[in-house]
């Protein structure tokens, strides 16, 4: 523009040095000028700019949709071709059926004392993964607590009332009937985890579902005396610690090639399978507490 004709104006470099030196007077004059210019232009152009942004947004949205559909379709195509090339389903000669699964099946019973080979695998052969998995659950419930746990000030929030509405008699009657059976079944699944299908995770979820049912039918007043924040935290943490130390013992002895002293028991009995039964119980309790914790954070914002 006409900066050069104006004696007050200065060159670019000079302005830069002044700016570096912090001489704000000149700088701010210039800034103000520029700012007023920009705002003036902005007022005029605001509408057109907004329109353009809207249009660009809608275009990019469309491009994004087309691109994602295209990518996904290509992706499915490639994967279908991959599946076509892969080994046959159900064939005993597949590469996956190798010495690893063979040892799990043929020596699993004598090496771990558990009849359920899946349980033996996840709680003994590959126990580190399962430890990680339990920690994932723990992490998730802590995250939910960070997000949804109420602080003391806003305990009297309105929205929690929507969960306090009067329950029907049918629900109460059914819950009274079903709750013991559900919990009993859950305990059965946990305790028989090493000799029949199931295990700590499935059983724990079933017990958790039973607790959720009870809490939904009878409200949280009754259940609160047993299951409150403190008791649930302490139970979860102590079960995790039992898990942690027993598995830590087994990893430590294994890593240092020391014979573990835990008896395996007779395969098929309830008291067998070495550490698998206590671990299943611990996992079951942790999972039940976690599921109930999810439920009560989601409804009441507190346990």
């Amino acid at each position: 523009m006409d900066y050069k004709s104006d004696p007050n104006k200065i060159g670019k470099w000079e302005r830069f040095f002044k700016w570096v030196n912090g001489e704000d007077s000149i700088d701010s004059v210039w800034e103000k000028e520029m700012r007023s210019k920009i705002t003036g232009k902005r007022k005029k152009r605001r509408k057109t700019i907004e329109d353009t942004i809207e249009r660009i947004n809608s275009y990019s949205k469309k491009i994004y949709i087309i691109l994602s559909v295209f990518i996904t379709v290509v992706y499915i195509g490639i994967l279908l071709y991959t599946v076509y090339e892969l080994p046959e389903h159900g064939n005993p000669l597949n590469p996956a059926n190798n010495e690893v699964s063979q040892r799990y099946i043929e020596h699993g019973v004598e090496e771990t004392g558990a009849l359920n080979i899946v349980s033996a695998m996840i709680l003994d052969y590959r126990a580190f993964d399962t430890f990680g998995e339990t920690v994932v659950l723990f992490t998730a419930v802590i995250c939910v607590a960070i997000l949804l746990r109420r602080t003391d000030e806003d305990k009297t929030d309105l929205e929690q009332d929507s969960f306090k509405s009067d329950r029907g008699d049918i629900l109460k009657f059914a819950a009274r009937l079903v709750f013991p059976i559900v919990v009993l079944y859950g305990i059965y699944v946990i305790i028989n985890g090493h000799i029949s299908p199931g295990g700590g995770f499935a059983g724990g979820t079933i017990i958790g579902a039973g607790l959720i049912l009870y809490s939904a039918a009878f409200g949280d007043e009754k259940i609160k005396s047993i299951l409150n924040y403190k008791s649930i935290t302490v139970t979860t943490v102590s079960c995790l610690l039992i898990y942690f130390f027993s598995k830590g013992y087994s990893f430590f002895t294994g890593g240092n090639h020391i014979e573990s002293v835990i008896p395996k028991g007779t395969p098929g009995n309830i008291l067998s399978g070495g550490l698998i039964l206590p671990l299943n119980i611990c996992v079951g309790i942790v999972v039940a507490c976690t599921m109930y914790g999810f439920y009560s954070y989601f409804t009441k914002g507190d346990i």
């Binding site: 359920n116 899946v118 349980s119 929205e159 929507s162 969960f163 699944v189 299908p197 199931g198 295990g199 995770f201 499935a202 979820t205 079933i206 958790g208 579902a209 959720i212 599921m291 999810f294 439920y295 989601f298 409804t299």
Partner: protein, 84 residues
């Protein structure tokens, strides 16, 4: 037996598509519940009873409950707000 497998698989895919396109969120969650149940049955077919128990308890049970609670919390159930 073979035919049942196909029926279940096709049902599974239909459920997945249905959960995607249905207008109401409540319907979506219910379809997803059906999806999980069928998945548990398929796992029984594939001789994985451990997984079937777990999936029935988790997918059809707790996960769906959590979805319902979320929907309840955002008032989608009570007011019947249609997703736009």
């Amino acid at each position: 037996m073979r035919i049942l497998e196909y029926v279940l698989l096709i049902f599974l895919i239909l459920c997945a598509i249905g959960a995607t396109v249905s207008k109401r969120l409540l319907v979506t969650v219910i379809i997803f519940m059906a999806y999980s149940t069928v998945m548990a049955v398929i796992w029984l077919f594939l001789e994985a009873p451990d997984l079937a128990i777990t999936e029935a308890a988790v997918g059809a049970g707790v996960t769906s409950i959590l979805f319902f609670l979320t929907l309840k919390k955002v008032d989608s159930i009570n007011k019947g707000t249609r997703e736009k």
